[in-house]
């Protein structure tokens, strides 16, 4: 989960930890994501491809510091999955198959023992890093230690035994991550069962680096990995270059197939409009899919000549307005429901680029997500899909709440889209009797600002967005609206609305407990939580966005993975 312009945050077990600073605006559409591919997201057979050539990606800006223990952007992750491997990973395939977790450097996915707290992985033999070193189970000890000694989102692995005493000065995981090189096993001990541990181990943070890697930040030098490519160079001001790893061989086509291009180059610094023009002209192969294409250039992409070069995919993400439940008027449930009835979601969808690029939403969980069942009480007509605002009902609720005439500050980012969303929200609020105004901040400041409870008296409605880390309902329902996600006076408090309902929290706990033992019951509980949250209206959910990939005519083999998005190394170029 990540939101535009900022790094992701993650709740692990009961402890919600840090979201980091934005590295680049290009990280816009955040790290991992899921969703269903549209008909345009073809999934060509790899058998028809041919290797060779230089695949060139154009990105508006680089992804910041490249150390994989710190970087938290989709932009680098799309490259890291081609250069590194973890114990397990999301299958490197397009479509829904890409959400399946498969063994990677481990020979299989182990069943938990010790009451769900211990996992024993058997590590594959004969695999080498790109520097020629042979992969050993002990390399993972360094990998996990680096999660804590390098400043980064350590919360993903804070459930490992010993992790609680780790910090940037040192880390002792001797009881939590135990390597047996002679037996080629790696044992991971957790302090408590975590049904999402395999999802977390599939993220690039847990990808193996050599045991000799420094425990300190390596800056822009990416440590060697085991994937089909290796990092030749990375300069945030110019480009990143990936070349073939001479030691790579395929051990699992599902986890890490061989890539097609001989070289992958990502160039930085162009305006997005220039990126699109260059790709249209065949001077480059891909517009980085996190870059936001100017709205009027979108219309040029509708031309029939680009029909096979433009791909649109639905993201499992929410764009929403958090309502400040700790201050008037939105500490009143009726007031929150009123603005939900009044919000003209059709207008917000137009701001997002129209119905081809966004779908109106009322509930927390996005479509095509585990436990999702359509539910929309804030509309006229049938209460499953949003159709139109109900201003009469909204005004009635405002009167009942006794909040009519209250002043409301709408906080958003000062970019084009953020400003437009704020202006529409102001219009919606004014239409039902509030006196609304805007407060626009830069993208890098706005997210930490609205998360910090010290600022909560200064705004009533705050724009935000969330993209899944991995396909688990808790990634939305617990991280964004759980009571344990509120961290007073912290810039890393993703429950922006400061919403805490004891009854819902109880259900969240039950759902998490049931995940390991009774998945179907857990799924049902998560659905219930989703609908209860929606009824309590801590947000005005605006829409679920879609994503555009723009490729050159010479590119073939496009596949869209719900977790990693475009699979760069699985595309090939015309000879």
């Amino acid at each position: 989960m990540q939101r535009i312009g900022s790094k992701k945050s993650k709740l692990s077990g009961k402890t919600r930890l840090g979201s980091l600073v934005v590295l680049t605006i290009a990280a816009l559409t955040a790290a991992a994501c899921g969703g269903s591919a549209s008909p345009s997201s073809s999934s060509s057979s790899a058998a028809t491809g041919h290797p060779g050539g230089v695949f060139t990606i154009l990105a508006n800006s680089a992804f910041g510091v490249a150390d994989p223990a710190q970087n938290y952007t989709l932009e680098e992750w799309q490259l890291l999955i081609d250069t590194h491997d973890g114990l397990v990973t999301f299958a490197k395939q397009g479509g829904i198959a890409g959400t399946k977790i498969v063994p990677d450097l481990a020979t299989s996915i182990p069943a938990p023992t010790n009451g769900g707290k211990t996992y024993v992985f058997h590590i594959r033999k004969g695999i080498k890093f790109s520097n020629g070193e042979v992969l050993k189970p002990s390399d993972f000890v360094t990998t996990f230690k680096r999660q804590f000694t390098v400043p980064g989102p350590t919360s993903f692995y804070s459930g490992i035994v010993g992790a609680s005493s780790c910090n940037t000065k040192g880390c002792d995981l001797s009881q939590g991550v135990i390597a047996n090189n002679s037996a080629s096993t790696l044992t991971i001990n957790l302090t408590a069962p975590d049904p999402e541990i395999m999802d977390q181990l599939s993220l690039p943070f847990a990808m193996a680096v050599p045991g000799s890697t420094s425990l300190k930040l390596t800056g822009n030098n990416v440590p060697p990995g085991t994937g089909p490519y290796m990092w030749k160079s990375y300069n945030p001001n110019t480009e990143a270059v990936l070349v073939r790893n001479p030691y790579f061989h395929v051990w699992s086509a599902a986890a890490q197939p061989k890539g097609y291009p001989n070289e992958i180059i990502e160039k930085y610094g162009l305006q997005v409009s220039d990126e699109v023009t260059q790709v249209e002209n065949g001077q480059a192969d891909e517009v980085f899919d996190g870059d936001q294409i100017p709205s009027d250039q979108l219309t040029t992409l509708n031309s029939a000549q680009y029909a096979n070069q433009v791909h649109v995919n639905t993201l499992t993400a929410d764009w929403y307005m958090a309502l400040n439940t700790s201050h008037a008027p939105f500490n009143n449930k009726l007031a929150r429901q009123a603005i939900n009835y009044a919000a003209n979601r059709a207008a917000y969808v137009k701001i997002a680029g129209g119905s081809s690029l966004a779908v109106p939403a009322c509930q927390i969980l996005p479509p095509n997500f585990p436990s999702y069942k359509p539910y929309c009480p804030y509309t006229t007509g049938a209460q499953t899909v949003w159709s139109a605002p109900d201003l009469t009902k909204a005004k009635q609720l405002v009167q009942q709440s006794g909040t009519a005439g209250d002043k409301v500050v709408v906080d958003s980012t000062n970019d084009q889209v953020g400003t437009a969303l704020a202006e529409q929200m102001v219009s919606d609020l004014n239409a039902i009797g509030y006196q609304a105004s805007t407060q626009l901040l830069t993208a890098s400041n706005q997210y930490p600002y609205v998360q910090n409870s010290a600022n909560s008296a200064t705004w009533g409605v705050a724009w935000s967005a969330w993209y899944q880390d991995y396909p688990a309902p808790s990634d939305f329902l617990n991280v964004l609206l759980g009571c344990t996600s509120i961290h007073k006076n912290s810039d890393a408090s993703p429950n922006i609305a400061e919403f805490c309902d004891p009854a819902i929290e109880k259900l969240i706990n039950q759902a998490e407990s049931a995940e390991a033992t009774n998945p179907s019951k857990a799924a049902s509980l998560w659905t219930q939580v989703d609908h209860m949250d929606t009824q309590q209206a801590p947000w005005v959910d605006l829409y679920n966005p879609k994503q555009i990939d723009v490729l050159a005519k010479s590119v073939h083999g496009y596949q869209w993975n719900p977790q990693w998005y475009i699979l760069i190394d699985q595309m090939w170029l015309s000879s």
Partner: protein, 347 residues
């Protein structure tokens, strides 16, 4: 005033002119400068158009407010009901393009912006904000700078040193950087700014007005202080002192009238500068805040429409150019009219 009269008598070539009120002389010179008068006319026309914004908006307002988004609205084009925002075509139907110029004054004469608002209406309302901020901040700047310059120049010594160094410190900051910093801080204060009994809301037009007015104080202070220093030891000041005039009387009755022409020359030039600054800050989203608009915010809104709807950005750009150009030309004319050396040109 005494000094000006004295100079006029000595320098003036024709006795008939010598005894005239210097302001009348200046006005006479200005009237003869046709270029400056044309510039004044252009500026006044822009002011009148901006003031007339509600008359234009009256016909095209949706939901009673032309500044609100109108993403789902419709309008008439050639008698047909047409959506203000139009979905892209082709197979993918990507994007929502605002309607282009209809050249019909009642229906989106210059087209719509990215959120469906009438660009022509925005232009007029934007002009109000830009002119209001530009003029007010320039006046504020000149008043504050003149007061400080009078105090520094009159008292001299330590007071002059302290005030001048403070001005130097402010001047040392790049003006735009200072303005952006101040705006960023003040805009996040939802409680607004409290200056004594004055309360300014964060999103109010007064926020950029005060910021812009204050950052340019040193730019006016310097020349005015120089003028004060040149006047403060003149004989008529000494004569007033000999007659027992108080400091306040000396400053405001003897010195101020003799430096005010410098301020008047600077004023139109400062208005041009502050209008440009406001446009720049608003373009960077740290000036005028929604739902208010200014020419700078309209250009900003039009950025993403440069390929298909360039008028959204070009129209306010033209307005800024015309306004600033007219003020600069007018400023030159005023300077020529008030400059004593120009008396030689009076026929």
């Amino acid at each position: 005033m005494a000094a000006v009269a004295e100079q006029t008598t000595v320098i003036g070539l024709r006795p008939a002119v010598a005894g005239r009120n210097p302001w009348a002389l200046a006005w006479r010179r200005l009237r003869r400068n046709r270029v400056a008068l044309a510039a004044l006319g252009v500026f006044l026309l822009i002011v009148l158009l901006s003031l007339a914004a509600p008359l234009y908006a009256h016909d095209i307002a949706h939901d009673g407010n032309v500044l609100s988004p109108n993403l789902n609205g419709t309008t008439l084009v050639n008698g047909k009901v047409t959506a203000v925002m139009q979905q892209g075509g082709g197979v993918l139907k990507l994007g929502e393009a605002p309607i282009g110029p209809t050249l019909d004054v009642r229906h989106y004469f210059l087209g719509a912006d990215g959120i469906g608002r009438d660009v022509a209406a925005l232009l007029l309302y934007g002009g109000r904000a830009s002119l209001q901020i530009g003029v007010t901040s320039a006046v504020l700047c000149c008043v504050v700078a003149t007061l400080i310059a009078l105090i520094a120049g009159f008292f001299g010594g330590l007071i002059d040193t302290i005030l001048s160094r403070v001005m130097d410190i402010v001047w040392a900051f790049p003006a735009y950087l200072l303005a952006i910093c101040l705006a960023t801080v003040l805009l996040t204060k939802s409680t607004g700014i409290q200056i004594a009994f004055l309360h300014v809301r964060a999103a109010s037009l007064w926020t950029p007005t005060v910021i812009i007015g204050l950052i340019y104080v040193p730019y006016v202070y310097r020349p005015v202080r120089g003028q004060v220093l040149s006047v403060v030891n003149k004989e008529f000041v000494e004569a007033a002192i000999a007659q027992g005039a108080s400091n306040v009387r000396l400053i405001f009755s003897e010195i101020l009238p003799n430096v005010v022409s410098t301020v008047i020359v600077l004023l139109p030039l400062m208005i041009a500068t502050t209008i440009l600054t406001e446009a720049a800050l608003s373009f960077l989203s740290v000036g005028v805040q929604p739902p208010n608009v200014s020419w700078g915010t309209i250009i900003n809104n039009g950025q993403q429409l440069l390929y298909t709807r360039p008028w959204v950005s070009i129209a306010p750009g033209i307005m800024i150019v015309l306004t600033v150009l007219s003020l600069n030309v007018l400023g030159d004319g005023v300077r020529d009219a008030l400059d004593p050396r120009a008396k030689l040109r009076v026929g």
